[in-house]
Amino acid sequence: MKKYMGNKLAILLFVAPALAIFILFDFIPIVQVFGYSFTNWNGLTMPDFTGLKNYIKLFGDKVFVTSNRNQLIFAIIITVYQMFFATIFAITISDKKMKGRKFLRVAYFIPVILSVTVVCQLWGSILDGNGLLNKFFEVSGSDFKQNWLGDRYKAIYVISFVNAWQWMGYQFALIVAGIKSIPSDYYEAAVIDGCSNVKAHMKITIPLLAETYKFCLIISLTGGIKAFTEMNILTGGGPNKSTFTLTYMMYNAAFKKSDYGYGLAAASIMVLECMMVMLLINFIFRDKDQGKEEEKSRRKRNA
């Protein structure tokens, strides 16, 4: 292995295809997005360079503030919901004594394999003004009927829930896989030491799933920042753009107003936000890993 790794030509040749695809389909388009964000462009004709005009306009746009607020709410809700429930459910079904664990494992994952459109239509029918949820309140004699998707402030929470509900199963699968990779010896040792089941999971499972959680955190937070589909289907970004995100701003500017330059300025900010979140998460987790490594080597030295 060492010899293969020492062969620079082999490394280059193995890396080249993936690198070429990444450069062609990711890196160059992103650079183009940044480039066009400094122009006045309708997507069809030659762009005119306008400098920072799009960015100045963007930062003064009320919808930009709303979009960022919505992204933050969306990201926090899906992250907390998905990681919390995915952990609970994964730990529960990892217990081999539990009955129906195979059924639950499939049931939790089913929403993930459904199309987003199907899920949104389903929840749209439930959350509609005359939908299942309001009918339920009506039948039960409660006057707690809500305009779930048409409320300026509440709609974003409802939409976040729909996304969290659908994708919880994905994180659940990752955590289940993570739990399976933990040797059972650790739990046996913990039981011998008189450790309770809950404490064993708190002290063994969760700390050893740090890498899995890091990945889950990245996908939920960046997923929140680039949220679009659920808003598009459930509320159309409304009422009056109150459920917009930066992706929606980009879409609206490009395809409704034919203002690609402005839309791509919004997209550039979104890319930067995603990158910042990833760097932050990497920094937080790297710091901890380094601390652990240092602790280990200190113990070794002392021993």
């Binding site: 030509l9 080249a16 309708n42 005359n130 009056n240």
Partner: protein, 467 residues
Amino acid sequence: MKKKLVSTMMSLTMVAGLLAGCGSSTTTDVATDSTTEVAEEVAEEKVEEAAEETTEEATEEKAEETTDSGDKVTISIYTQYADDDTKVPYDYAVEQLAEAYPNVELNLIVQAQDDGQTLKTLAATGQLPDIFQASTDVINTFRESNQIMVLNDVAESTGFLDKLYDANKDLAYSDDGNIYAFPFSGQEYVLWYYNKQLFEDNGLEVPKTYDDLKNCIDTFTAAGITPLALFGQEGWNTAAAYDVIATRYAEGGIKDLDLQKANITDQGYVDAAKTMEELVAAGLYQKDATTTNYDQASEMFLSGNAAMFINGQWYIEDATKALGDNVDWMFYPAADEASYEAGKSVFSGGGSSSGFAVNPDSENAELAAEVAEFITEKYCEAKVMYRHNPLVAINTGKEPESEYPAMMKKLSDTLPSVTGTTKFTWGLTNSTFNDGIQSETQGLVSGQFTADEFISDMTDIMEDMND
């Protein structure tokens, strides 16, 4: 050394395999001799050029042959095909086309209700259909990039211009004096429909003033009936809901704002926003109006769960079919009776230079232009004959298969006294204003945005219009 060689060979094999997999089926031999390589490249280029030329010639010849020889020419068309008002004319046009152009076959791509977003995406990726239904905004955008055909000659040679009603002559031309689309709709109007039976049952008169309207709202709400079903999921419907109020205060309505002949801070528009805010607070629209789609709102009205409905005059046929004599349209209520009477001659809605346009880069562009003109005529005929809608762009010389519905007769009687119209959102010229008025009026309808917020936001939007 051996291992190094083996690993290099393995890497090369993998890369070659990947490239072969990703590439076309054409195989490329690696030439070791540079002279041979250059010679081969030159030869290949020549062969490719010759092949391309041959293919182009063959395609042109084939296109000509197909029209002459009887082989089918398929023309793609992007148009609405959602309800009877769009399905009936299309099906009739296809039927007529099969007789007049037996070699032409239409490939329908159903238009999405997305304010031209799909069409713009198709244009950006060079995949425009041969014929497409274009709104004013789309025409203005595509003509900048030469992705819409100038149809002046076709309009003249086919006699389309002669068939246009005088009142609709302007609809054919864009502001640069060219024809980019064959319009099939004439002057159209936003009508305020109401269920006569429900009004009678609840002892109500047709409202003339906003006070009368508030009285109707209270009565219907108390009876568990939605006063007015709006399909606010579609921005044009909320914009129309604002426009029917705005025209009572400022005749030009949203058209004058779009053309920047008026400002949103003008007293008439401010009053209209405040009136709408009051009516929403009183409960004129259903609470979830902004998430209600056309099917849901129409069902509410046609089933008697809603007393009023705002839609174009094309809805007359469907409303009459479902409600018979129990449905009618009213003149829009106003602040007082004098304004009500004065406003009877002004309608929201109007014509626009939208219609069937042609992709100039189409393989069969000339034929597509002819077909577009033909389909436009047939659309007009079908609308007159089967949809009882005489408000089409051209004089078809056709009569409806049965008598016009009472509402259409009433509208026809009213039209001679109409002095002003505004625009539907698809007839607005400025896309920034169009997007803004649709979303801001949706905000007003939701009841969660105040009139002051509406005015403030619209002021910002109108400042951006010239950017």
